[in-house]
Symmetry: C2
Subunit: 255 residues, 2 copies
């Protein structure tokens, strides 16, 4: 299939490689900034534009892979065509396309993407949605060789997925960051904590998070909790420690 990529950021870049590897053809790249557009166009051996009005009208699929807040604005400016329009955003409903094109949908890859790290797409769940059956079939064709986990999900449920992603990824990563700060101050190398991080993540593959819980908070061990609070010199970190400990104790008692 012939694909136009609207966006040249990190996800768009990784998506471009994955789609090309799956024998699809990227025919054009759009980006607001020439540098990003050109860089990705060279990588995928295709043409680029920085003018949304200049996007070719004869591609099969148009993928909007830009920051959530920009998607709607770009949709509004894009000339009508007969292709399938898709976005990749967790928090945007599918109906942002309504009135602007005939066939549309969503492919939301549920993963964290960073410039400096390539991820294999095979294991990434793609949460999909389409405005009609033909669009859904096209999405399935598009992703068949890209991901091993394609899951239809409504806009209403998708926003909850995005929310859980913040808890299980962004917030989790911040707790790693806090741990790193504490270790740095004590001149202890961060790598000492990696086996614990790995096992904590692996545990919930076979146990529920509730079964997997350990540590002082679950038994409200005031002796250790107070010791720990006294070791934290950052007010916010003390507040986070207190709040999470209370919630652990409460939720494991009640459930």
């Amino acid at each position: 299939m012939k694909i136009v990529l609207i966006g040249a950021g990190n996800l768009a870049t990784q998506l471009a490689s994955a789609l090309t590897a799956a024998s699809h053809q990227i025919v054009q790249i759009y980006s607001r900034t020439k540098e990003s557009a050109q860089a990705l166009a060279e990588k995928t051996n295709t043409s680029f534009t920085t003018d949304i009005k200049q996007i070719t009208s004869d591609a099969d699929i148009y993928i909007f892979s830009v920051t959530d807040s920009v998607v709607v604005n770009l949709i509004e400016q894009m000339p009508f065509n007969n292709g399938l329009w898709l976005h990749t955003a967790g928090s945007l409903p599918m109906n942002v396309f309504e009135g602007y094109c005939a066939n549309f949908g969503v492919i939301y890859p549920f993963q964290t993407f960073s410039k400096k790290r390539n991820v294999g797409f095979r294991n990434i769940p793609f949460l999909t949605e389409a405005n009609n059956e033909l669009s859904m079939e096209k999405i399935n064709d598009l992703l068949a060789k890209v991901s091993g986990s394609i899951r239809p999900l409504s806009s209403d449920k998708r926003k909850y997925m995005h929310l859980t992603g913040v808890f299980a990824c962004n917030f989790v990563n911040h707790l790693y960051h806090i741990s790193e700060n504490i270790l740095n101050k004590e001149d202890i190398p961060f790598d000492i904590i990696l086996p614990l991080i790995e096992e904590t993540a692996n545990k919930v593959k076979t146990l529920s998070p509730q079964e997997a819980q350990t540590g002082p908070a679950i038994r409200m061990d005031r002796n250790i909790i107070d010791k720990h609070l006294s070791l934290l010199d950052d007010k916010n970190h003390r507040e986070i420690y207190r709040l999470l400990s209370e919630d652990i104790f409460k939720k494991n008692k009640k459930d």
Copy 2:
């Protein structure tokens, strides 16, 4: 080496298997409750006692592997002998042994242990400390075939390790728990989030947590943050969301 295990809980049980596999000999098990003592004694094919005064005096090593709050009390009751006394607690300083025995130290396995899940000891960092060189040599002999990562660390630093463990394991697991709750309510299976959990944990093996951070909080995207807060019906979870988002924004701006 001949070992007496004081404690028959989850860590003691897993330690017993690892030590036996490393050709050490468990000669006696102590536990306050007969059932646990007997169960572990049968497993390791050895004798047991529920009376701390009846512990044999001719073993090489005595490992106190019980809840932190109980360790001191047991040390006080245990008859003097010439063996090496060790505890496995993160938050207890080594000097709890002072005055009760001649040779002592700490072997703190930095990992999370649950009854229903066996972990391989080879990758678990053991944080060690001893009151003299000979004791440290014995500890190294004891653990040589058990763990591939033996790291001497003072009591003062060890308590910070324990603290980071709470952040990077207990609190992280609770964020998994919150995610599971949200997904359950929406009838979305928990396994859909496992690839994200895995990649988040793997990312910090090659990127620093700061480099790895993504999501709405880092750019203080009020639009998405407010949407997410409105989706959370648990007051505590809203507070956790707010506090962690603020801290992510603050810490990534400053650093």
